[in-house]
Symmetry: C2
Subunit: 328 residues, 2 copies
């Protein structure tokens, strides 16, 4: 019998373990055009918090009492689909469970790029592609730019730091705590700010006396306000996430919002889903950087299906360095 | 003896009449390459509030005890400059005074477009060009768009409403009070919101049940937050001004800032100074609309140099419909 995490309650504010329930899940038989997949790696991601609410968003809400979903890497153990054979490693969205029967069209066979499979949930997956397109397309960052990235020890942020360095940009990264800051430094960031060490505005202003050209935002709030404060003329902000606000209902407050006018700042929100048609382009450029080690990646791994909610909740406590994963 | 308004105090918050002083001003003789101009029309504009502060901005601060400046239309009364003759009507930046000696390179002879000279301070001047380039370039508005513009009875906003209508867009305008709303309606706006009648979010949501594609922001604050709340996917915001915040030091608060991500909103600040090299293009397109009456314009006129501070202070009390001017 397969098992899957189900949504038990819609959290008000920060989710807790009691919002999730692990239950048996009867799988349908493998019919024509479907495969049965045994999951090896599950992804937990901040955006899933939004799916726990019952509100209109860019992805459908999780339903109460129903299994949760998310990116996963698994091995095909039974196939009635052309082009997919037993033993193939595939990526799909039936995560938060150990086994699933999924239509072949909802499954992507991992390309042979010479990297470990779980990298397709991280640096060569959605987080890596988010960093790539966000930095290079949305923010249109170029080699002479000074780039500020928040949550720089996270899965997206750590990729931003390294892509920016590989392209010759100057990089300032923020992270919470000494360990994460060391990690960001090890990735090649020119300057690293510990946001737990004091107001981010003060440390950013000191680290960027000439201002910043690009801000890659993963956290919103004070970080975004500080970036507004120090932005140079024609700065571009790629707004990828605002994890600081996901569990809060209070309004965000900005002292420097008016600088968008004088400095002609462009603030552009984006979703990686708009770029998924261009993954081939991303693989072609990013895989060599990963294989050569120019872009390293680190994972924080929780073991066992039972640990999935803990891994997810850990995202909001800063428990991860690099990509947060569950290994089955 | 010429007379000019001088900055007496730097205001803390809302400026008052006591911050200005009208004093005699000795003019230099008209030397080679300069002209003496007798001003006919003075412009007062919200951006001048920023120049009263002693802070870095996109235009230099006014200096304490020194004459103030601003756009003006005047008549050349003495010339030692090629191409400028007595009787020519010119635009220049030596406003807030009755007479000035200015270098010929700082003077623009008004083009012959068949309109009254004061229009070059309004619908065919900086406010009109701000509306034009902000709407069509910065926000990239197209005929099928639903456009929301705040301060729609002001000099910039009223031009935005009419340019948008002339291009076939659907236009929602906000203004404060019944008179201004009537005026905005008379300009052809499809829907008009009186922000003094209740929360702008509520009235905007009702007026735009399908959301908005473009927001032309003149006021910031609650208007901007409401626009974030109802923006459709890939909406573009042109941030032109935030008059609501110019006299305040408190941070602005946003409940809907996170929608920039899900809706992929682009928020772009701009300054008209970046577009002044393209005024020819603007005249070519806008002058026919003004001459034909497709773009009407209204002025609120104060008479006499003495009234200049009152006209300026009136901007922050919503005393103007259309362009605020001083006639000498």
């Amino acid at each position: 019998m397969a098992r899957a995490w189900h949504l038990r309650n819609r959290p008000d504010g920060t989710p807790t373990a009691a919002d999730f329930e692990l239950k048996d899940l009867e799988l349908p038989p493998v019919s024509e055009g479907t495969v049965r997949v045994r999951n090896r790696w599950l992804s937990v991601d901040p955006y899933m918090r939004g799916r726990m609410n019952d509100t209109r968003s860019y992805v459908p809400s999780f339903q109460l009492g129903e299994p949760m979903e998310g990116a996963a890497i698994g091995e095909v153990v039974e196939s009635k689909a052309d082009g997919l054979a037993t033993g193939d490693l595939v990526q799909h969205m039936a995560g938060w469970r150990d086994e699933a029967v999924v239509p072949a069209r909802a499954v992507n066979k991992l390309p042979s790029l010479g990297v470990e499979p779980q990298k397709f949930l991280g640096v060569l997956g959605v987080p890596g592609a988010t960093a790539w397109f966000g930095l290079l397309e949305v923010a249109a960052a170029k080699s002479t730019d000074i780039v500020f990235v928040s949550a720089a020890a996270g899965s997206v942020g750590s990729a931003v730091v390294q892509i920016a360095r590989a392209r010759g940009m100057t990089v300032i990264g923020s992270a919470g705590g000494a360990d994460k800051c060391d990690y960001v430094r090890s990735l090649g960031a020119d300057r690293v700010l510990d946001y737990k060490g004091g107001p981010i505005l003060k440390s950013l202003a000191a680290a960027a006396p000439d201002g910043i050209d690009v801000y890659f935002d993963n956290v919103g709030g004070d970080h975004l306000d500080a970036a507004l404060a120090v932005a140079r003329n024609h700065a571009r902000f790629a707004i990828c996430g605002m994890i600081g606000g996901y569990n809060r209902n209070e309004p965000a407050s900005f002292r420097f919002i008016m600088r968008v006018i004088a400095a002609r700042i462009r603030v552009q929100g984006f979703l990686i889903t708009d770029y998924l048609g261009r993954l081939g382009e991303f693989y072609a450029e990013m895989a060599p950087l990963v294989v050569s080690g120019a872009v390293a990646s680190r994972e924080t791994v929780y073991d066992g299906l039972e640990a999935t909610p803990d891994a997810f909740l850990g995202l909001f406590e800063g428990a991860n360095i690099g990509k947060m994963l569950v290994r089955l």
